[in-house]
């Protein structure tokens, strides 16, 4: 199979999946017991807002018109208005998306780098004490519910030691101070940095065990491969062999990286909630509790889209680094 066909096939699949998620969401919310407008009114929403809501969603049109309007709106990133703030959803959540990124991207990256190192060290020392005992603390961290891990961090480092603030992303006072500056200015403050440490560490710890364990398994597997033995017998020095082992065994870890990143964007819900970090997960929970359906729908779609697109990226990436992939498929 040629690269072009491989590419085409994957793009088709990805677009199809995205469409499927959109459609699923559309019908899920139409399936909801009770009428959205009624619920809103019941919740004490202003009738004007409800009318506006109905208008923007075209709730009075026939279903198929609503459906196409809905798809069209999503493509234009105009998924309606949030009932919480009366702002367009996109304006309301775009900063949350960025806040999740700034937390997830460096933390997951560090977790993967550390994990690869731990996995390689334990994998190459197969049969030794290290290999037997290192997985236990890793699994232990993996077994702690992430919200509890976050709480433990707060109790120890914010409560008892008092080194870091307990929650939110920045001191409101500091935020006010920079309110007239460009939006990115607050991310370069000491207050932000101090607030950043605990959530960041929690995410790193939480996402460390997966890459470590996979890397370890992968290293063990690669070590048993014929070609590694062959390299040894051909007189390749140890350093060169290690390089080759690392290259081969990091393949599954590298492929997991984007998917972990994408999942973290949704999975950080709990950690963001504990730390009151204004990210997507936090926004989602707030929207769910406030029955802000336009926001729920959009945020969920963005999270799902990250996973789907990450899968696509992996496939393409894999086909580039591993010459076997696109041909065998």
């Amino acid at each position: 199979m040629s690269k072009v066909r491989f590419f085409l096939k994957r793009i088709t699949q990805t677009v199809f999946l995205l469409w499927l998620v959109l459609t699923f969401l559309f019908f899920l919310f139409r399936l909801m017991p009770g009428d959205i407008s009624d619920i809103l009114l019941y919740q004490g929403a202003d009738p004007d807002t409800v009318a506006e809501f109905e208008e923007s969603w075209g709730l009075n049109d026939p279903l198929y018109v609503q459906y196409f309007q809905y798809i069209y709106n999503f493509i234009l990133l105009e998924p309606g208005y949030s009932v919480q703030t009366n702002e367009p959803v996109w304006d309301f959540v775009k900063m949350n998306i960025f806040n999740t990124f700034i937390l997830a991207a460096p933390a997951i990256t560090l977790a993967y780098i550390l994990g690869a190192v731990i996995g390689t060290v334990t994998g190459t020392k197969r049969g030794g004490k290290l290999e037997k005992f290192v997985p236990v603390p890793l699994l232990t961290i993996g077994a702690i519910p992430e919200f509890f891990l976050a709480i433990l961090m707060i109790i120890v480092f914010a409560g008892f030691l008092g080194w870091f603030p307990t929650s939110s992303m920045i001191d409101p006072a500091v935020a006010n101070q920079y309110s007239d500056d460009p939006w990115w200015r607050i991310y370069f403050t000491q207050s932000f940095a101090m607030h950043f440490v605990l959530p960041f560490t929690t995410v790193v710890l939480r996402y460390l065990f997966l890459p470590s364990l996979i890397m370890r398994t992968s290293v063990v597997e690669v070590l048993g491969q014929d070609f590694i033995f062959y390299k040894r017998v051909t007189g390749l020095p140890k350093s060169a062999r290690l390089k080759s082992i690392a290259k081969h065994s990091s393949l599954p870890v590298i492929t997991l990286y984007p998917i972990s990143m994408a999942r973290a964007i949704g999975g950080l819900v709990l950690i963001e909630t504990v730390f009151n970090w204004p990210g997507m997960g936090y926004a989602l929970v707030q929207a769910v509790l406030a029955r802000d359906f336009a926001t729920v729908q959009f945020v969920f779609f963005v999270i799902a889209a990250f996973v789907i697109v990450a899968n696509f990226v992996i496939d393409i990436f894999y086909s580039v680094i591993d010459p076997r992939v696109s041909l065998d498929d």
Binding site: F227, K231, V233, G235, L236, P323
Partner: protein, 351 residues
């Protein structure tokens, strides 16, 4: 062919650390391969031939070690050399290897030419261009289109991969090539082509070959001298014509009779009951005793020494207490072996 031994193995014992104790895979093995010689090692699965090969390549698993004896290459003891010394002086420059699992021996993420250039960089003075030119020649020798040196391994069929591996073994003109069942997974026609290339190498370059195989026919056809292994012990060593025509060890005799011959499609084939034993601790008896129709109590009491098969021949050795009786019977064509000691043989050994 000169008579200087290129490779000498003397009283070699190799053991693996296992849960049950020290597992002896090779026991007191001795033989020598001369320069330019085509030497075969024959035995069925579990006979220790792979361990023998790994210890010569100095590539035993971490739980395996040479516990006794020496391996001499060009007169120098190599069994205790450091990894670095081996890489710098011995591996590939002197001793190259053709693996059994050639299907997976090439790095799937690298072009074959890249792997060759890397070897040339490590073990020779060739620059990249010279290396590529030379590797193209090697491809020609083994019958693959030289343009395909830049392919990835997965673009090759099984037979082609095997030939590419042979090309790599030849590449830096080593003095000794160790080939481990180079044709096991291949069809008979491909097997014949592969052996044709190996024959060519011996004829043209004068490289010594040590061929490890279960196929006695291949050894009889191709090799100059051979060793027969059973249960970690060398049963018999000598010129192939001697072992073919005047085998002294019962195992050599039976193995040969078990092999079908296309020229005599209806000859009765012999059956050797059981399988080689798994040996924990020192081997202090003949490992063939449970499968041997000639065995006596004596064979259980001590390992038979590897001695001259006949007093006046210095090139044929056999390790069997009853070698003279076996020889006599074979010569007379009488067949009064007792029934194989089946019970202890087959039941004791299969786990």
């Amino acid at each position: 062919m000169s008579d200087d031994p290129l490779l000498e193995v003397e009283n070699l014992t190799v053991q693996y650390k296992t849960k049950e104790g020290m597992l002896t895979a090779v026991s007191d093995a001795s033989f020598a391969v001369s320069e330019g010689e085509y030497f075969g090692v024959v035995g069925e699965s579990g006979c220790g031939k792979s361990t023998l090969l790994l210890s010569i390549l100095n590539a035993l698993d971490s739980n395996g070690q040479v516990t006794n004896g020496v391996i001499r290459y060009k007169g120098e003891e190599i069994q205790d050399l450091s990894e670095q010394e081996l890489n710098q002086r011995i591996r590939w420059k002197e001793i190259a290897y053709i693996p059994q699992g050639s299907m997976n021996s090439l790095d799937p993420l690298e072009r074959i030419s890249t792997q060759a250039v890397q070897l040339a960089g490590l073990h020779s003075d060739l620059n990249e261009e010279e290396a590529l030119t030379k590797f193209e020649e090697m491809f020609e020798i083994v019958g693959i289109d030289p343009e395909r040196i830049h392919d990835y391994p997965h673009q090759f069929s099984g037979g082609m991969k095997q030939r590419a591996i042979i090309a790599l073994a030849l590449f830096l003109e080593p003095s000794l090539i160790i080939a481990d069942e180079p044709t096991t997974a291949l069809d008979v026609i491909m097997q014949d082509q592969i052996f044709k290339h190996i024959d060519d190498i011996v004829d043209r370059v004068g490289t010594s070959i040590m061929l490890i195989t279960h196929d006695i026919a291949v050894v009889f056809e191709s090799c100059d001298r051979m060793a027969v292994m059973h249960g970690g012990q060398i049963a018999e060593v000598g010129p192939v014509t001697r072992i073919d025509n005047e085998p002294h060890h019962p195992y050599s005799t039976l193995l040969q009779e078990a092999f079908p011959d296309i020229r005599e499609p209806n000859r009765d084939l012999s059956v050797i009951e059981g399988k080689p034993p798994r040996q924990i601790g020192e081997t202090d008896y003949c490992t063939f005793v449970d499968r041997c129709p000639w065995a006596t109590e004596e064979c259980r009491e001590a390992p038979p020494p590897l001695e001259r098969a006949e007093a006046d021949r210095s090139d044929h050795f056999v390790s069997c207490f009853r070698k003279d009786d076996v020889r006599e019977e074979n010569e007379q064509g009488t067949d009064d072996r007792k029934a194989p000691n089946q019970k202890s043989g087959s039941l004791a050994n299969d786990e």
